[in-house]
Amino acid sequence: MFEAILLTVITASTPLVIAALGELVTERAGVLNLGVEGMMIMGAVAAFAAAKMTGSPYIGLLGGIAGGALFSLLFGFLTLTLVANQVATGLALTILGLGLSGQLGEPFAGQPGLPLPDIVIPGLSQIPFFGKVLFSQDLTFYLSIALVVGVNWFLFKSRTGLKVRAIGDNHASAHALGISVIRTRYLAVIFGGACAGLAGAQLSLVYTPQWVENMSAGRGWIALALVVFASWRPWRVLAGGYLFGAVTIGQLHAQAFGIAVPSQLLSALPYIATIVVLIIISHNRRTTLINTPASLGKPFVPDR
């Protein structure tokens, strides 16, 4: 029983962790992309379509990544090349993504999906309890863990990661040092889009293997809140993602047990939890200021 719950918690948390990690890198480079929800839903529909047309859920996964990344380019072009307002453009990305995915996904609605198979790691999966929970999962789970480790190493141990953080903290100085601000930011935006797309692919290939309109159901926004919650640190994204996953699954189980609380109140819990967590994290103005990339959301036009 406990094992089964833990397995569903992992499945619910994985897309949050992946999408939040992508946004974390984008924001570390100083770009605030509020379009995570839109990129995620585009990834979900692209993944489902690609899997359906090729018959391979793995190609579906690639399709999701490509869908999210391509869609994020739109955001990149507007905010980085045309210096449009980042907040407004991110909202536009979400609105367009929700509409476009509904239009593109119409022929796929109600069709049976192709679930991503579990990869059972020989040997390790034999360990009692942990083997089943940690070593017989689908690819997206392993990818999410690899991404946490990889992003952490990249940002804090690699030279390029240092440049990314420098741009996020002061783009004018980074530019003066000869770092290409716009190019790096484009790459960070595309990485964020690819991650959001992968998270969307997880939704339509693993979490509920089918295409349903608006199936991201606010997860992109929760991922955005997770980045703030994690104060822009990858390992805390992992912890926060699992906390939110546990709340989501916990309320589902509470509903199944028929606890004498309206089901709508339980469904509202993940959103209320997000607000509470945001309050706790941001009430100390000074620590927030230290943690937030200083150039976050500010437009940059190279001096001529």
Binding site: V83, L96, G99, P262, P302, D303
Partner: protein, 375 residues
């Protein structure tokens, strides 16, 4: 090839007017392209989407029904966005306004008095404003990001409405449908004319737009909104308080969204049900930007976006295009509006080759400065 931006010495008046129109034209071109890819005749599809709905009296009324809430919400949002407060939870404030405004007709269905309607409207405004007060309080007191909190509250509001109409407020004689009793005639916002459904909500929208335009143009408060939005620091020197502005902008926009909510329920639906809005609160964000955050511009852009709703419904019937096409149109429109706005502040140049461009030289110059985008 690269695109380079050069800051204009002054804001281009020409492009301030041309940019929204250019965005509209580009949206139409891309829309035609989309219809063509869907296998429809592009011009015919555009005709049934954007022209046909304007040809009879009934649909002109429908246009006003849909434009009313969009304009009401969007003018409130324009005050928020101009003052750099990003309320994107208008959909939730709309929902709560509809709920608090409906308290009287739902709980006292036998109360037949002319005062009920004004009371309902006031309660709707209060409900929306209070609900927007939550992100305002959290931002002013705890420094919490209002974008995320206001959005999360949308989901909470929708679930609350869902619970109400399926639970305590469900009509006992309603054959178990999830809806409240129909409002008594005194609680229904009357239609403007006998020829159609357009009701007083549209008039409220025009009044609100003109009032806020007057405030922004001629009153100190309007100046305060713009100054604090462009530079909080400059605002402080003028003695303005950014914290009070958080409260002001969110309460105004929440109150207007709440008024839109109760007007919609009382004027067009006549009872509460789980879904009372086709995304007005989100579409109003597009309306606000297409109107260039100017209340009078928003009246025009509200009518345009209302047309996309109507066109979506019409095109669904006449040429079998899914109603999702209107969401795509709305999204595209916002994108083109935002990109065309660049023309107002910058000259755009295409640069062929990059080796000896001035940008490469300036990379080593220490005197870099970031451009300030003022809205």
């Amino acid at each position: 090839m690269r695109i380079e931006l050069e800051k204009r010495g002054r804001v281009s008046t020409l492009f301030s007017i041309v940019s929204p129109l250019l965005a509209l034209v580009l949206t139409l071109v891309f829309g035609a392209l989309m219809f063509w890819m869907l296998g429809k005749a592009p011009l015919g599809a555009l005709y049934s989407f954007f022209v046909e709905p304007l040809l009879d009296v009934w649909s002109i009324h429908e246009l006003a029904v849909k434009a009313g809430p969009l304009i009401l919400i969007a003018v409130g949002l324009s005050i928020c966005y101009r003052s750099n407060n990003w309320n994107i939870g208008a959909e939730g404030q709309f929902t709560i306004g509809a709920i608090t405004g409906s308290i009287l007709p739902v709980l006292y269905p036998a109360w037949h008095s002319p005062v009920i309607l004004p009371l309902m409207l006031l309660l709707g405004i209060a409900g929306g404003a209070l609900y927007a007060g939550i992100p305002a309080l959290l931002k002013a007191r705890f420094n919490t990001n209002e974008i995320l909190t206001s959005l999360m509250l949308v989901y909470v509001a929708q679930l609350f409405l869902d619970w109400l109409v399926r639970g305590p407020w469900k009509d006992p004689q309603g054959h178990n449908f999830p809806q409240t009793t129909s409002f008594q005639p005194e609680a229904v916002l009357p239609p403007l004319l006998d020829s159609g459904r357009a009701h007083w909500g549209f008039v409220f929208a025009i009044i609100a737009a003109v009032a806020l335009w007057f405030m922004m143009r001629f009153m100190l408060k309007g100046f305060e909104v713009s100054v604090l939005g462009q530079s909080e620091r400059a605002g402080r020197f003028a003695g303005f308080s950014a914290r009070r502005m958080i409260w002001f902008s969110l309460l105004v926009s929440g109150g207007l969204a709440g008024l839109a909510g109760i007007s919609e329920v009382s004027g067009s639906i006549g009872h509460l049900q789980p879904s009372i809005s086709p995304g007005y609160g989100f579409t109003a964000i597009i309306v606000a930007f297409l109107g260039r955050l100017n209340p009078l511009g928003i009246i025009a852009s509200g009518l345009v976006l209302a047309l996309t709703y109507l066109g979506g419904e019409a095109a669904q019937l006449s040429i079998g295009i899914s109603d999702k096409a209107s969401r795509v149109f709305q999204g595209l429109l916002l994108f083109f509006v935002l990109s065309c706005d660049t023309l107002i502040h910058y000259r755009i140049r295409l640069v062929l080759g990059s080796a000896n461009s001035p940008a490469a030289k300036s990379a080593v110059s220490p005197s870099n400065q970031t451009a300030e985008v003022t809205r």
